[in-house]
Structures are given as structure tokens and as C-alpha cells.
């Protein structure tokens, strides 16, 4: 039973436009939500996080929005650049586990392709 779902395996966006990656979750007890970015043949890198008590967090071109009533979060990238082409993983964590990564649940990822 997948607790974190990324229903779009891939997304194509034109360079300069906004990219919106979506993530749904089922467990209302999650305390933090994280986004990781992964290039081919490399390990994921941490991108941005949001606490469950917030509804928005912004870092440069990246903004994450959280809608707790809908159990939905989204990552916005504005403007999209060619270097943003990668797989983006949504992840959620339960703080009761100490916030440790053994309590981290990943989605299957969305492959973002930025077209010139």
C-alpha cells in the first residue's frame, strides 16, 4: 500500500515556463515532506522541505505548497531551466521515529523533461 503517490511518471515543460510536480499522500500523521532531485547515474540530492504546519515554503525558483485537507503537495519550478531535467522524488517522514530516515517513505518519482 503506497503511502506517497506520484501519479505522473513523466512531465514535459517548455524552458522558461512553470513546472508543477504533484504528490499525494494517505497518512495524515506525516510531519515533514521532502523533495529530492535525481540525475541519471547519480544519487538523489535534497531540494526542499516543508513542515506539516506550513502551507508554503520557497527557496529561489522552487516553491512547495501543502494542502493538508486534500493530502496533496506540489513543487513549482519557475522559470524552468534545462538543468532542471531530472527525476523528482516526493518523500514524507514521521517525526515520532525521531525524524530518522528509517521513517522516510518515497514516491516513485516524476521524470521532468525541460524542452528548449
Amino acid at each position: 500500500d503506497q503511502q506517497v503517490k506520484q501519479n505522473s511518471p513523466s512531465l514535459r515543460v517548455q524552458e522558461g515556463r512553470i513546472s508543477i510536480l504533484n504528490c499525494d499522500y494517505t497518512n495524515s500523521m506525516f510531519d515533514y515532506f521532502l523533495w529530492y532531485k535525481k540525475y541519471p547515474a547519480e544519487g538523489p540530492t535534497f531540494l526542499i522541505s516543508i513542515s506539516s504546519i506550513k502551507d508554503k515554503n520557497e527557496d529561489g525558483r522552487f516553491t512547495v505548497f501543502l494542502n493538508k485537507s486534500a493530502k496533496h503537495l506540489s513543487l513549482h519550478i519557475v522559470p524552468s531551466q534545462p538543468g532542471d531535467s531530472a527525476v523528482y522524488f516526493c518523500a514524507a517522514i514521521l517525526e515520532y521515529s525521531g525524524g530518522g530516515a528509517d521513517g522516510l517513505t518515497f514516491g516513485k518519482g516524476t521524470h521532468l523533461i525541460i524542452q528548449p
Binding site: G43, E95, G100, D102, K108
Partner: protein, 114 residues
Amino acid sequence: EADIYQTPRYLVIGTGKKITLECSQTMGHDKMYWYQQDPGMELHLIHYSYGVNSTEKGDLSSESTVSRIRTEHFPLTLESARPSHTSQYLCASSERDRGFEKLFFGSGTQLSVL
């Protein structure tokens, strides 16, 4: 940023061979992890360690074993590789960031068992 290194990057071996995937980090992190990931699938935790001489199995059952004799080193061993072990193996370490542990990943080992 944490520096974490995995070797080899790619490994192609025959069935029945014993293999060890190496992972080292230079940031002094106590917590280290091994994940397994297949294309289009989520990352699955197979092993983790919260310090020297501490190892635990993750949520995905794995026939591999790990050891943590030194803080910086967390190798993963498969005693007898099988084609079903073909996958990407990602090592990570973590440090505290507010209410959660932020993961730093190595570049991964792509294992193919023939």
C-alpha cells in the same frame, strides 16, 4: 555538503559470486543507510545504521548483509548474487535538519547479475 563515495559505480557479475559494495563518507555522520531502487520505482530502505556496531534491516527484505566497524565505512555484501539482485544500490548518510534527518546520497552502484 556531505561527501559520500560508492564503489564500484557499475558492476556486472555472474550468478553465485560474492560481492561487496563499498560506501564511505567523510563528514563524520553517525547515521548511514542503504537503499535499493529500480527504474520508475520508489527508493526502498534495505539496511541502516545509527552508529558503530549498530545495524538494522529496513522495510524491504534483502538477502544482503552490512557491517559498521568504523563510522565512515558501511559496506554491503551479497554472499551469492542472483539475477533478482540486479538493481541500483544507493548509500546515504544523514544529518539533522530541524525535525528530520536530511539524506546525502552517494552516486550509487548499478549492479547487473547475469
